[in-house]
């Protein structure tokens, strides 16, 4: 304390006053968080970590959370559904209140949220981390009522199990179709990882079966790396390939579904299969759409520095639902955004300016049990936009040893253990 200057003295006084305000229970500030996924849970924990005197309530409709990340391993039969199942019991340790209900109305002018269970929660700041919803009107012949027969499995849980059981019930020689929606969607490499792990299952159990990917996009995430893995592991590009990828210019774009005959119509052709997995076109979660947080794109525009909605004051949107510059829609992105948002909110409640945001995404895809690939990026905010920092964005090298590919599977599982530990332990 040798440099105890006048400025410091003023700061101490300011801090004492601020401290009285923050720590006085009568004026305890409230943050409500909607959605207990990769974004919401972390935001809750980090707000409490930075400022333990803020009242934090998490609103989540489900008692259990199944991670979408690693759910493709469940579908491919190399992981048990129980191993991706979590609950919110430990959040109480951090002083986070969990309310199991669905948020229905955001009344931004009154700064309160209405829940399905009749409760009304008032807030000083609201975080909306709802993930995605599906645009059911977009596909002719397919909607929410058919998901038991034709699962999407793009939200993990019972849908994951349904698809996995359908695969197991298939006869050797029967095929599965996976349809990929137009970008942007949750987890850009996800459909191709899923196709890979189903091909791996076929290789061991149903070698005459095949995965047919009908894609609405002409290119995809980590494409050259996936292609290399498919060639090495699943005879891709040969007559015996366990996988086929059909982009729009070869008639891969889905136009209609006939559930009765299990047929997919595309712009140029029709395909029939024993199992169909439709990954529907996506938009921000329902609560965001219903409450005016989305723009014409169906996603939520935000101040990319703080994650505060551009449309509603004191409401913040993180994770898959928000438009976060060049960041992909992944669990790691949501995790990183939640931490920045927690800092933005605590700074704003203290009436100080937040520090410069720093964000990271890391995303692994398991192409086979010994073949992992990754993409990573560091991001910062310049002129109000989230941009790649110093060129730090890229995927695994196309030239790499078998040991390297194998190590990326170990790192993928290690990331999974750490990110879920951070969320639920």
């Amino acid at each position: 304390m040798a440099n105890f200057t006048r400025r410091t003295f003023l700061a101490v006084t300011a801090a004492t006053v601020a401290g009285f305000y923050v720590f006085n229970s009568k004026t305890k500030q409230k943050v409500v968080i909607i959605g207990g996924g990769a974004g919401g849970v972390i935001a809750a924990k980090y707000i409490r970590k930075v400022e333990s005197n803020i009242d934090v309530t998490l609103v989540e409709q489900n008692q259990h959370y199944y991670t979408c990340f690693m759910s493709n391993e469940v579908i491919g039969g190399t992981r048990n559904i129980e191993s991706i199942k979590y609950d919110y019991a430990n959040l109480a340790k951090y002083g986070i209140k969990v309310v199991y209900s669905q948020a229905t109305n955001i009344e931004a002018d009154l700064k309160q949220v209405k829940l399905q269970n009749g409760e009304t929660l008032s807030y000083d700041r609201l975080i909306v981390s709802p993930g995605i919803s599906f645009n059911w009107d977009a596909i002719d012949g397919y909607d929410e009522t058919m998901i038991d027969k034709i699962p999407h499995a793009w939200k993990a849980g019972s849908q994951t199990t349904i698809l996995q059981k359908q695969l197991q019930a298939m006869k050797n020689g029967e095929n599965i179709i996976i349809t990929v929606p137009p970008k942007p969607f949750r987890c850009p490499p996800g459909p191709y990882e899923r196709a890979s792990l189903i091909a791996q299952y076929f290789k061991c159990n149903k070698p005459k079966s095949k995965v047919i990917i009908l894609d609405s996009n002409q290119s995809f995430a980590k494409q050259s790396l996936f292609t290399q893995g498919w060639e090495q592991l699943y005879n891709y590009g040969t007559d015996n390939s366990l996988l086929e990828w059909i982009p729009p210019d070869r008639g891969g774009k889905l136009t209609a579904v006939d559930a009765k005959t299990m047929t997919i119509h595309t712009s140029e052709d029709k395909y029939t299969a024993a199992v169909i997995n439709i990954i529907p076109p996506q938009q921000a979660g329902k609560i965001a759409i219903d409450n005016g947080l989305t723009d014409a794109s169906g996603w939520c525009p935000i101040d990319q520095r703080t994650f505060e909605s551009s449309l509603l004051p004191d409401v913040y949107v993180i994770g898959d639902a928000c438009i976060a510059g060049v960041m992909p829609k992944s669990a790691y992105s949501a995790n990183s955004q939640a931490k920045v948002c927690a800092q933005a909110i605590t700074a704003s409640l203290r009436g100080v300016e937040m520090v410069n945001p720093s964000l990271v995404n890391t995303c692994y895809s398991v192409v086979g049990n010994e073949f992992g690939i990754s993409v990573a990026g560091v991001y910062r905010v310049e002129n109000g936009k989230i941009l790649v920092s110093q060129g730090a964005s890229g995927s695994s090298p196309i030239k790499a040893s078998a040991d390297y590919r194998k190590s990326e599977v170990a790192y993928a599982h290690s990331l999974y253990d750490n990110i879920t530990h951070e969320m639920f332990d």
């Binding site: 401290g19 930075v50 990271v360 990026g377 730090a392 890229g394 790192y411 253990d417 750490n418």
Partner: protein
Amino acid sequence: MLYQKFKYSILIIGLLFNLPINAADPQIHMLVDTCIACHGTDGSSVGSATPNIANMREKLFIKAMQDMRSGERPSTVMRVIAKGYTDSEIRIMAQFFSQQQAIPHRQNFDAEKAAKGRQLHNLYCNGCHKIEGKTTKLLSNNLAGQQMPYLRYRLTEFINDSDPTLSPLMKNALKNFIDNNSQDSLENLIHYYASLGGK
């Protein structure tokens, strides 16, 4: 100016509540919190392969980031991620993690191998990689409780000569070890370090 004031007030609040000063600095946390989802809370990994970076020597952290950024040291995602930070940011992160206590995660090790590994460690490694107390060697990693797959990857890189940033000291020590011991011995060492994890 505002930020300076903020920093001071945080510092004072931190002192009032007897928190470590770092624990409340938002700029430090903005940087280091991005590492946690892979490397574990404050750098102690519960994942099976990601190395613990808690209690990592400051100088070693800086060197590791710089070597991975330049591509000299082989790495997977870190060759990309290390590029995203300035030298001063890397120094801030290095200082933070060097001050964190490593909380080793319990691993499945073979007690017999670990016992053999312990003897080998004392004979060949303890000069630099001290288990009790900190070594004076600023670039020696803390191996107690380090993840087994990670140790295997690193040692394989060293043995295959695929990491040109390896110090001559370690290179010679490893050569000496391999010349005088069987292949299993390295595995025994790895089991020993794993055995120093949590109970």
